[in-house]
Symmetry: C2
Subunit: 290 residues, 2 copies
């Protein structure tokens, strides 16, 4: 096809051959071969001048197209390999949706506009599973400790705050700690859904020898807040989710509040070249560790 295009553009066997870095005779044979295999005369030629047939003229457009697409495919695959283009499946938990995730996504989209970011909001446990299964390329979740096959970037350290209805008795108490919460109805995500969060809550109480009275265990953070709003209990949630408590709700700091590490994670064996700069950007936006 490149031979054909060279001749179609120059209409001169000698010059076209030169453009293809070869001598004229084999070039002539190649053109003849193309015409023979296609079964179509592409050039009208005598020993003096060369012209495209209508078929040749049509074929020229198609060839230009095909060759262009071909070059682009070769260029693109290199871009994908360099991480400049492609797709990155990014999972995150609701708890991070209002803190680090927007900034991370925005910075990355600016740095790598040709990488399609596929966002996927999941629970921490789902995220872990999907990271090992390879369904996600990277994810923001709570640090749940041991994860040998994952690389980890600490993004932020969040304190938990307590959230409750404004008309709750504790709303007037100055310092709230485990003792004040003794016997209080607590709503918290199940350990199976958010192990790190739940274990932080549990140890906050058990360190003082108190067993929290967990009355409801919804899987979604969103649901927890709704149930608190209905007056079914109080909840311990990350500070970044407390900036705009819903109507009728109020959040308070906790004494010796538990801290949770929000991390960006990706399989160390990832084959997706887009991940590395994503992690780099993660490092660059490490929040002040409160």
């Amino acid at each position: 096809m490149r031979y054909f295009m060279a001749l179609a553009e120059t209409l001169h066997f000698g010059r076209a051959a030169e453009r293809m870095n070869m001598s004229q005779p084999p070039f002539s044979r190649q053109i003849a071969m193309i015409e023979h295999t296609l079964g179509v005369k592409l050039f009208e030629r005598n020993s003096r001048n060369v012209a495209l047939t209508p078929s040749g003229k049509h074929f020229m457009k198609d060839c230009r197209n095909v060759l262009g697409q071909f070059e682009e495919a070769c260029r693109d695959v290199r871009l994908v390999a360099s991480g400049m283009k492609g797709e990155l499946r990014f999972g995150f938990m609701m708890h991070a949706a209002h803190s680090v995730v927007p900034q991370l996504v925005q910075l990355y989209a600016e740095a790598r506009p040709d990488v399609r970011l596929v966002l996927d909001e999941r629970t921490p446990t789902e995220i872990d599973e999907m990271l090992v299964a390879g369904t996600l390329d990277a994810a923001v979740t709570f640090d749940c400790g041991y994860a040998p096959h994952l690389q980890t970037v600490l993004l932020a350290r969040e304190r938990l705050r307590i959230i409750m209805r404004k008309d709750h008795p504790l709303a007037t108490v100055g310092q709230i700690g485990p003792e004040e919460l003794r016997g209080e109805k607590v709503i918290a995500a199940p350990a199976a859904t958010a192990p790190a969060l739940r274990s932080a809550i549990n140890s906050y109480f058990s360190a003082r020898g108190i067993v929290p009275h967990v009355v409801l265990e919804p899987r979604l953070q969103h649901t927890i807040i709704q149930l608190v709003a209905k007056g079914l209990g109080v909840a311990l949630i990350p500070a970044s989710l407390c900036t705009e408590p819903g109507a009728g709700l109020i959040s308070r700091a906790l004494t010796d509040a538990p801290q949770l590490d929000v991390v960006l994670r990706a399989p160390i064996t990832t084959k997706n070249p887009a991940v590395s700069t994503f992690m780099e950007i993660g490092k660059s936006i490490q929040r002040t560790l409160l």
Copy 2:
């Protein structure tokens, strides 16, 4: 690329090689060569299983596209060569626009829907020039006799009629011939524009020893009728243009009316394969020769 696609689809060197009608070792080398020249790892493989890298997955889409376009280009060029597809530049004179042209165009468009018909309305002389210059592939014009390098299909034989204002003195005369037109102001296209038509008109008069009094010589048929409508003279025009004379106009038969052959013409040396069936359709619609 076909090698790559075979492996990308089977994810098995042996079976992919078989699909490409070759043995596995050279196939492995080809894949390695592709990866090397692109500088991109396309497959993640150990001795047990083969998987696409993200780059490979992306490249697969592009390859499918390119290969499809390539196949289509090869198919299309054959279609063009067979006259099933392509372009046909078709010229015609105004005098035929209301008679044979619509039928010819419609029948051809039905027979060869993938050939783009480029219609070009011209004067007979322009048509002749464009046919020899190769700017037109085929054209409908008056038969102007000798044309060795053109193939000709007779489409219709048209008598000339006279057209005049309804209030013209001749409008009441029963038989109109050269004698009745003696001294009459005649409007006719110049010989340089429509040689066949003009010479038919001239000889109609000169056969009776009469010199027509041609007062105006507009190039366009359209203009002639307008001038007749303004009362500037009478005109001899093909019968097919008289079916709907404009307001205030009337047409009459002529005694021993001159006849003109309307022909479909194309260069015998035409390289456009679409022309032959166009000519065939021309033959098939030969009108009853009045």
